[in-house]
């Protein structure tokens, strides 16, 4: 009885506290600041569309990281995976002249193959995931250059027809890629929150020794999460970005890495503190995106958004740490 009443009380008061959804309060504050600062261009529907559409790919890449990080594995290859799938997809359609369905199948298969490579390096060869996926990232970087060379792959097949519509022009000016982001987030949420696998991912990440002694198949779980991150980053985000920018370009993928990690780590301080989670990651992506777009509209210099992201990340982790040591002491 006591247990249940405590649970209710916690559910009743805790969810809206600053330490639980601090990013949402900061987000609201940002919206207020920019609405006053640039009243003519910021608080309009066009800006909402811009923020959502521009952040969908970052959001997908950040979500790709949630399961590996929950299970205690780094995947540093995701940016390169996305980049490779981008140039591969464009090359197959334009230079290869393949049909759209075949292109999609091959691209998804390539993404999964990259996942298998990562999993073999990390789980089978037992190379530390931070170093192992950094190395496979380099191999992918080489592959990107081989496929795309120095030129941009462009063609009518990328910008029009079914393929051109994959990521763009959805409902009310919101791109389909935003829909993909929300769907992927919902799936990850269900897995982590309601399934046995989710419970085991967290256990394997928090205390792999205890998880192994409890009979949890830690190796198999780590294999799976690396497949998932490759599938989401390459198969989903990689194809979506190709449709969005209608080209295959060698420099597209790598920059996503830092932003995605920033959002995933910031997300872990939100909603379910200390646990990497889907909605927290999404909130982080949109909050950081709002800051970036707002600064752009306000005419701030180019470097301002990077300063903003770095400072927010440091503050979020400092606040979390201070609370944690406070509660223990």
């Amino acid at each position: 009885m006591t247990g249940i009443s405590l649970e209710v009380r916690r559910a009743g008061l805790g969810w809206a506290s600053f330490k639980n959804i601090g990013a949402i309060y900061v987000w609201l504050l940002l919206i207020a600041i920019f609405s006053i600062w640039v009243p003519s261009t910021f608080p309009v529907y066009a800006t909402v569309k811009q923020i959502l559409n521009e952040d969908a790919i970052t959001g997908l890449v950040a979500l790709a990281l949630v399961l590996p990080l929950a299970a205690g594995v780094f995947d540093l290859s995701i940016g390169y995976n996305l980049g490779f799938c981008n140039v591969l997809c464009a090359w197959l359609l334009v230079s290869g002249g393949l049909s759209v369905p075949l292109t999609l199948v091959i691209t998804v298969a390539a993404a999964l193959l990259i996942g298998v490579l990562n999993a073999v390096v990390v789980v089978v060869a037992k190379i530390d995931s931070f170093i192992g996926t950094l190395a496979t990232g380099f191999l992918l970087l080489a592959a990107i250059t081989v496929v795309a060379g120095q030129t941009e792959i462009v063609g009518p097949k990328l910008s029009s027809g079914f393929f051109g519509g994959i990521a763009n022009s959805g409902i009310a000016g919101i791109d389909y890629s935003v829909v993909y982001m929300v769907v992927v987030a919902a799936i990850i949420w269900v897995v982590l929150e309601f399934t046995v696998a989710g419970r085991w991912f967290y256990a394997a990440g928090f205390n792999p020794d205890a998880a192994r002694l409890a009979g949890i198949p830690v190796k198999r779980l780590r294999f799976i999460v690396l497949l998932v991150s490759a599938l989401v980053a390459g198969g989903v985000a990689g194809i979506a970005v190709t449709s969005q920018i209608a080209s295959g370009t060698a420099t597209v993928g790598p920059p996503y890495l830092l932003n995605a990690f920033a959002a995933a780590f910031l997300g872990a301080t939100q909603l379910k503190r200390g646990r990497f989670n889907a909605w927290g990651t999404l909130i982080a992506v949109l909050m950081l995106g709002t800051g970036t777009v707002g600064l752009g509209l306000a005419g701030a210099p180019d470097w301002a958004s990077s300063v903003f992201t770095g400072v927010v990340l440091l503050l979020a982790l400092a606040v979390t740490r201070a609370e944690r040591s406070g509660s223990l002491g």
């Binding site: 247990g3 405590l6 649970e7 309601f194 696998a197 205890a210 949890i216 200390g274």
Partner: protein, 512 residues
């Protein structure tokens, strides 16, 4: 130099753990310090290291000069140096670096490390102990005794030979028997030039072989200091045990030995074990005793298939062979395991109590991978009531509970499975005395209700007395003695772990 401790007492929140202890360590002497768990041995060492402040009235002198206990000796320029059981070495680095991390690097005027002189220094320090060690390979590749030598050299860096005291805390705990002699010659070399050595050990044969004099602690009292050549191991064991009131509470379990054993093990060997056979029947609680390094820490892990280093031998559960290094297979065959190091091997932080309790069973409470929340909540509620977890809040992170309540939850985690055999290693480590009885009760109830077969390996002999029908005493990797029924007594177990006869105790027990 002489280290003199006088009237040292210490109480923790009203409970006295050291009572008016006087000890003198003379120049050039190896002074052994022995006592069971809870005798106050480690408290005394921690006071000397400045980790605990002793109660008022405690006094200490080094070389005739009074100093304050409860402060870190090195901060006052006192040459009291410590080598702890874990050695605190960086195994990835070589001996040169490890020694320098203690004593500092030799630098040129430019501030750059003079590696040549640094290596020479290390070489010379180790040569003194007759150790031909590769000083430029990572310590992980050295033999355990060679690592201990490096730790000693590091502890001694820059000390004034004649006025120093070196404290060695359980230095043989992680050494194989074959390397103990080498350690002893190192210790004697240290004491040779008038330094004093305090040598703490569980192993009486070890202490008797190296010490000049031996002080025995029991329940916080100094039983006396004896010249090593005037006492034997049996007398020391009796002094450690004393005249105890036996609180024998086991019994009532009636193992059914007419049926086939539920667990059989043959020829088990690993890092410490050198061939152990045993059988276990349903409804039976069997204890495993032994000093550090006897194989007592290793055996439960092998029996539960939770041991990931190479092993020999075979374990069968209900006639089926248990594959090694597979906790999952053990689970499937009905073996539940509670490992020794709760925080590292059992508690998943920051999981809640609920998540920790159900982690081994959650896959059996799900349809198509989706966990049945109601069923989970009901199971957790059932165990909270049954084993009385306080506070009864399933959503509180488990690390925030007391050690005793954490252990109850870990027990419930395992007991919620369909079990035939329960294997426990150090079931009451870090559990306060009040909660200990509660843990015992949980185990007793489960054995009686479900006719479980239980293995309890513990360094706390109190656990074995309270629960076991039968105790197997390990010594040097083999079963040295089997005690059953009324033989399961404190004194008998201590004597057996030290390899002595309980008969010796008759005279000594009456003379404190």
């Amino acid at each position: 130099m002489t280290l003199r401790l006088e009237n040292v007492s210490k109480a923790f929140s009203g409970r006295t753990v050291l009572r008016h202890v006087d000890i003198e360590v003379r120049p050039g002497e190896v002074h052994g310090l022995v006592g069971q768990n809870g005798s106050g041995k480690s408290t005394l060492i921690k006071i000397l290291a400045g980790y605990h402040t002793p109660d008022p009235g405690s006094r200490a002198w080094l070389d005739g000069e009074r100093f304050e206990l409860g402060t870190v000796p090195a901060e006052h320029g006192l040459d009291i140096r410590f080598v702890h059981q874990e050695l605190a070495l960086v195994l990835q680095l070589d001996a040169i670096d490890n020694v320098a991390l203690g004593g500092g690097y030799v630098k040129r005027r430019t501030g750059i490390i003079d590696w040549k002189r640094q290596a020479e220094l290390t070489r010379r320090a180790l040569d003194r102990f007759g150790m031909a060690i590769d000083i430029d390979v990572p310590l992980a590749r050295l033999a355990p005794v060679e690592r201990t030598a490096v730790a000693i050299v590091r502890a001694l860096a820059g000390w004034a030979e004649k006025s120093g005291v070196l404290v060695l805390d359980e230095p043989t705990a992680s050494l194989p028997a074959s390397e103990v002699d080498r350690l002893h010659s190192i210790v004697r070399e240290v004491s040779q030039h008038d330094a004093g050595v305090i040598y703490v050990s569980h192993r009486l044969d070890d202490i008797v072989a190296v010490a000049d004099r031996i002080s025995v602690l029991r329940d916080g009292d100094l039983m006396g200091t004896y010249r090593a050549n005037e006492v034997d191991i049996g007398q020391l064991a009796s002094l450690m045990v004393g005249h105890r009131v036996e609180q024998k509470q086991s019994g009532g379990f009636r193992p059914d030995r007419t049926s086939a054993p539920v667990l059989t093990a043959t020829g088990l060997a690993g890092r410490w074990l050198e061939g152990v056979d045993l059988s276990l029947w349903p409804g039976e609680v069997v204890g495993i005793a032994g000093v550090l390094g006897s194989g007592r820490e290793e055996l439960p892990y092998i029996l539960a298939s939770a041991y990931f280093a190479p092993v020999c031998g075979q374990v069968t559960i209900g006639g089926e062979v248990l594959p090694p290094a597979s906790p999952r297979a053990a689970q499937r065959l009905g073996v539940g395991f509670v490992p020794a190091d709760r925080l590292r091997e059992a508690v998943v932080a920051p999981f809640t109590m609920r998540e920790n309790l159900t982690i081994e069973r959650v896959d059996r409470m799900a349809t198509a991978g989706i966990v049945h929340r109601d069923e989970e909540r009901k199971l957790v509620g059932h165990w909270i009531d049954k084993i009385n977890v306080v506070p009864a809040d399933p959503e509180r992170p488990l690390p925030k509970f007391s050690g005793g309540n954490q252990q109850k939850v870990i027990l419930a985690r395992v007991l919620s499975l369909a079990l035939k055999v329960l294997v426990l290693s150090e079931p009451t480590a870090g559990v306060d005395i009040g909660a200990r009885e509660a843990v015992y009760d949980v185990i007793r109830t489960e054995v009686a209700e479900r006719r479980l077969a239980v293995i309890i390996a513990s360094s706390d002999i109190g656990d074995l007395i309270a629960l076991c029908d039968r105790v197997l005493v390990l010594r040097r990797g083999r079963i040295f003695r089997e005690l059953a029924g009324s033989q399961v007594r404190y004194g008998a177990i201590v004597h057996a772990t030290e390899g002595t006869e309980a008969g010796d105790s008759a005279t000594a027990e009456n003379t404190p």
